[in-house]
Symmetry: C2
Subunit: 229 residues, 2 copies
């Protein structure tokens, strides 16, 4: 959590968010009223936040990670547009996205160009996702995969593994981070492209697949930037 | 700056970093001794930090943005390896990377899959960079370009524009953010793929090129996630 988020949380009257995320910040709240909604109720959340703000209240809508990376920032703006309220004051506060959080627990896998891809096909056709995986694999991008096991489609991550194996060695390092930076809830594993899908991967996991240069250095996964030491 | 960084800065005896970045955090420092070095002295900085830590001091090495994204995290680990000190305690604290910071000032351009690419060819052959740009353009990835004008090579960004124009409309939104989230130093422009290289772009600029769905919504640049409103 950034210092800016801490100070804004103190200034607002209402906190609007997905229940699980609201629970995570409850220790930091004092006077604020909470509007917590369930999973996939993003649009309802935005409408409620905008209604409260239009009444003159100061409102914070929260996301996990960075609200600007697959988060609530976009849908808030789209809701404001639909309600002809684009002139409403809005501050988007960036955060630490899951790729950064996971990378910090693995070592330094993101020292070179990387592609962030969500494997959730709820809002994106799988063909588009698969094409992106193929092109990023060919380009030797490091991958940060979000939502690696989506909604009853456990085979997607296997398909990703097969595609990337066409371009990279089976022993390419892969990092699996569950609930990155959530204290004792967090777990970290470093494995290989060959084997990573045998490990536990779920919606709370961020998967980082190394590029052709990524290597294991002691307990760390590192993609060299290219400095001559 | 995250709350974790604030508390660690308070705990350490030494701050090691590039002079410009040390200057940015001076307002937050009290008792710490400062070791500031010049540009491109990354390896010297690491060696000095490791020397101080090996003497038993608590040392923080700082990066701008996220130390884990093209930052100091990787080279620290590589220096530890070279000096046979991989068992030295090391905490990598993630931050808000430039892509996230720039996105927050533009609206919500990173609501979909994106590629982070550095155009600096100091440590990476230009052919590799150009290939990545072509593949990410074909994959309809949003781009976050770091170091868009590198070291006396102003034509790189023109080449990127030409490549992406093969795959995307000339009016694709492009956001230019200089010194993201550095208060009055910051500047933001939203322009188009056709025109963006006519604007001021330098090493302190982050360039975000939209995908085929990105659009301008009032004062914002937004890539729709795909929700039905």
């Amino acid at each position: 959590m950034t210092a800016r988020v801490q100070s804004v949380l103190n200034e607002v009257e209402y906190i609007v968010g997905y229940k699980t995320y609201v629970d995570l910040i409850k220790p930091f709240l004092t006077h604020q009223q909470i509007v917590a909604t369930g999973m996939r109720q993003e649009i309802d959340r935005c409408r409620e936040a905008i209604r409260l703000a239009a009444e003159g209240h100061r409102v914070a809508v929260i996301s996990s990670g960075d609200a600007g990376v697959y988060g609530m920032a976009g849908i808030i703006i789209e809701c404001l547009e639909q309600e002809n309220l684009l002139d409403m004051p809005l501050e988007i506060i960036p955060g630490v996205t899951a790729a950064s959080a996971a990378a910090s627990m693995l070592g330094a896998p993101l020292m070179h160009d990387f592609a962030v891809v969500s494997l959730s096909d709820l809002l994106t056709p799988w063909e588009v996702i698969e094409k992106r995986v193929r092109l990023a694999a060919e380009g030797d991008f490091i991958f940060a995969l979000y939502n690696p096991k989506s909604n009853g489609r456990p085979q997607h991550i296997e398909t990703v593994r097969e595609i990337v194996l066409r371009y990279r060695r089976p022993d390419t390092p892969v990092g699996l981070v569950r609930e990155a930076l959530r204290g004792e809830e967090s777990s970290v594993e470093i494995t290989t492209l060959e084997d990573f899908t045998k490990h536990k991967i779920d919606m709370l996991t961020t998967v980082i697949i190394g590029n052709s240069q990524t290597r294991i250095v002691g307990p760390y996964m590192v993609t060299p930037r290219g400095y001559k030491l």
